[in-house]
């Protein structure tokens, strides 16, 4: 994979349709003009992004628990400490509030830190530094003090880790002006968004997903290049459709595509929108889709009240797309309980493919 990428690398920005094109080609078993396309896991895509940005800009560094000598709690930073050393890859003690503040201060003083939370559940201990020190400072200083920091790590449910380790923070961080919040699904998303986040001069919260780390995706040659960026604030249409719009982020995007694959056999064409960015949200793309399909379903792993889906529904109501809805918008979310442990309970606390199919049929009255 590395050899192919190195040999045929082009410095081209990958547009939103090219990656889709590649995915569709793969599904139909046709390989296009790029034998250099490769299967890359989300983990490896993140690792590539980190490596490339560390190499490109000396002010970029990574800090967090176990990121250096352990190669990363989830191996996302594998090999980086060996390559870049103690100055650029820093193992921290278990002191979230302390090291998050240190990351923010370093950003204020001209560095570009990447601050890893082992999971975003632990970011709650440091959330004051993310919101009050990072998000608000540019505004409070009237532009004098920018804070180019990236906070990243796994967000949301995993498998059997219990209530304290399964919360989704998309709504919490998405609530705050001054932050950018991104939520990748595929390897292309992961790599492109992480690189874009590092290069962004603003504080960015990147919500990864542990269960996605090991999932391979086809990555086009362009997506493997060193300057491949996914623009922050732009959603991607993963699948074109005409009957209903499914809007989602992170792992749920995969469930939407699975549901769409089942529904197509019954003649229902779902349009699947991958938000990619929670804040600033690409409402225009959702509106354009709803104008086309007249039906909207939002799918997320987080809790229902005051969530991402709730915001989407409110925004659709306020905009031109409202008049094109043939039915009220529907939200699929995590169940309104702390995450239980037993598998049967946990499975039923997140929107499953069958729930999406059910909701589509209900909204279309079939």
């Amino acid at each position: 994979m590395a050899a192919a990428a190195g040999a045929l690398r082009r410095l081209v920005r990958c547009g939103p349709q090219q990656g889709l094109g590649r995915l569709l080609q793969l599904r139909r078993g046709i390989h296009g003009t790029a034998p250099a396309a490769a299967q890359v896991t989300v983990r490896d895509a993140l690792n590539q992004a980190l490596d490339e940005e560390l190499e490109r800009d000396e002010t970029v560094f990574l800090l967090g628990e176990e990121v250096a000598q352990y190669d990363g709690a989830y191996k996302v930073s594998r090999g980086l400490w060996k390559k870049y050393g103690d100055k650029r890859i820093i193992d921290t003690p278990i002191s979230e509030m302390g090291f998050t503040g240190i990351a923010v201060g370093a950003a204020m003083a001209g560095l570009r830190p990447i601050c890893e939370f082992m999971t975003f559940n632990f970011s709650m201990q440091a959330i004051d530094q993310v919101i009050n020190s990072a998000a608000k400072t540019l505004y409070m200083s009237a532009g004098i003090v920018p804070v180019p920091v990236v906070f990243r790590g796994p967000n949301g449910a995993s498998a059997g880790v219990g209530a304290q380790h399964s919360q989704c923070f998309a709504a919490w961080y998405g609530h705050c002006p001054g932050l950018k919040v991104v939520s990748p699904w595929s390897s292309e998303d992961a790599k492109g968004l992480l690189k874009a986040s590092v290069r962004d001069d603003n504080p960015v919260v990147m919500l990864e997903n542990e269960l996605m780390y090991g999932v391979p995706f086809e990555m086009s040659e362009e997506a493997q290049s060193k300057d491949f960026l996914v623009p922050i604030g732009k959603a991607k249409i993963e699948r074109q459709g005409t009957h209903v719009t499914l809007v989602s982020h992170s792992r749920s995007v995969g469930h939407c595509l699975e549901a769409a694959a089942v529904l197509v056999k019954e003649g229902v064409e779902c349009e699947v929108v991958n938000l990619r960015t929670i804040r600033p949200m690409d409402v225009e793309s959702i509106e354009a889709s709803v104008v086309k399909t007249n039906h909207l379903i939002t799918v997320e792993g987080g809790w229902p009240q005051f969530g991402v889906g709730a915001e989407i529904c409110a925004r659709i109501m306020e905009g031109p797309a409202f008049n094109y809805l043939d039915a009220p918008a529907v939200r699929l979310t995590g169940a309104d309980v702390p995450m239980p442990y037993a598998k049967i309970l946990e499975d039923n606390c997140l929107p499953q493919v069958k729930d999406i199919i059910f909701a589509v049929k209900k909204i279309l009255n079939i």
Partner: protein, 396 residues
């Protein structure tokens, strides 16, 4: 700058350690700066030490030029804070206003010892530091009154003022300490021999994140001076009621510390030079406790006399006022005269009046500024107002 004065009678007293020659005059036609000594040496209080064999020197040399500069700056800050008190009571300043009169020796002393290329961060009792780090008084007062000529264009207010190598002005108690260590990490990373002075109060000293920061700063040998401005009260709670150990200079445990007389500007300056040298040499962080006092209450909504006596405040004013201490030293050792210092008072008073005039007449920021400064280096976008029909453009 120095005007010629006619003085009928002038007497010069020889100070305890002054090198001045004893002179007394009965009639003086005029007085010029050539009559003053150029420098004098003073005894300063020995600092208590923690994990250190030696501490800062016990004498300090003060030149005339330095003395006049420190005096002017301390007096400027004193008057600026008193003016802020006045403006607050007239309701021209709103919200929070935490004044530092009484603590002038801390900000001016630190600035005297640090380089302009060094960095400083503090909490909300910051007006003195905003000024010593380089922001003019008129921009500080205009920020307090919420005008567009304020140093943060009216967007920040009392607790959120920033300047060159000065990171505020922070409202969340203790949060500025990890930030300061992060700035120190950047200093070490860039290798330009810079340090970061990270300030917090006796109240904040009990915050957990400060201990997390001590640990990482010591572990990674960050060039950070942790400075506890101990003014004896965290809002309405005296140090004895808040801390199991009030030896704030020892609370860094494995970090060497010194306890400094924060009312004596020379003591602060010498201690800071000592600590800065320690940090710059790569030995890691140091902790300084500055024992100081605030005349005002915690903020303008606190009269400051329910938890301490008027007698206590009066005693500090009469025996330990930092400006009076400096003034007495300078006059007693012929570095300056009462008249010359009075001239400075008059100039400072005028400067503050002019600044207040600006701060009360400058217009408020335009409504269009409401949406600005959300993102840096972003193409212009729209920000939502209180309803879907109200939108503001956002640029930075």
């Amino acid at each position: 700058m120095r005007k010629m004065l006619l003085a009928a009678l002038s007497r010069v007293l020889q100070g305890p350690a002054a090198a001045a020659r004893p002179v007394s005059r009965v009639v003086v036609a005029s007085r010029n700066y050539a009559d003053f000594t150029s420098e004098a040496t003073f005894d300063i209080k020995k600092c208590d030490l923690h994990l250190l064999e030696e501490g800062p020197p016990v004498t300090a040399v003060l030149t005339r030029e330095e003395g006049l500069r420190y005096y002017r700056t301390m007096h400027t800050i004193r008057r600026m804070e008193l003016k802020s008190d006045q403006l607050y009571k007239q309701k021209i300043i709103r919200g929070f206003c935490h004044l530092c009169d009484g603590q002038e020796a801390c900000c001016v002393g630190l600035q005297a010892a640090m380089k302009q290329t060094d960095h400083l961060i503090t909490a909300y009792r910051a007006h003195g530091y905003v000024h010593t780090r380089g922001t003019p008084v008129r921009e500080i007062l205009a920020e307090l009154t919420g005008r567009k000529g304020g140093c943060a264009k009216g967007k920040g207010g009392s607790m959120h003022m920033y300047g060159p190598n000065f990171y505020g002005g922070n409202g969340i108690v203790g949060a500025q300490v990890p930030l300061g260590a992060g700035i120190a990490l950047a200093c070490k990373y860039f290798g330009k021999d810079e340090i970061c002075l990270t300030l917090y109060g006796d109240g904040a000293a009990n915050q957990g994140q400060i201990f997390e920061t001590y640990n990482m700063a010591a572990l990674w040998k960050l060039p950070c001076i942790f400075i506890c401005e101990n003014n004896r009260y965290g809002m309405g709670t005296s140090v004895e009621r808040a801390a199991a150990s009030t030896d704030y200079y020892k609370r860094g445990d494995y970090i060497p510390g010194i306890r400094v007389d924060g009312m004596d500007i020379l003591c602060v300056r010498e201690a800071t030079k000592f600590a800065a040298e320690h940090c710059r040499s790569g030995k890691g962080p140091m902790l300084m406790e500055l024992q100081t006092y605030r005349y005002h209450g915690h903020s303008m909504s606190d009269p400051g006399i329910s938890y301490r006596t008027r007698e206590e405040i009066q005693e500090v004013r009469s025996k330990s006022d930092p400006i009076t201490l400096l003034k007495d030293r300078m006059v007693n050792s012929n570095l300056s005269s009462v008249e010359e210092l009075k001239e400075i008072d008059v100039e400072v008073r005028k400067e503050i009046e002019d600044a207040a005039q600006f701060a009360t007449t400058d217009p408020e920021p335009p409504l269009e500024d409401l949406g600005n400064h959300i993102y840096k280096n972003e193409p212009p976008f729209e920000v939502r107002g209180p309803s879907q029909w109200i939108k503001y453009k956002s640029v930075c």
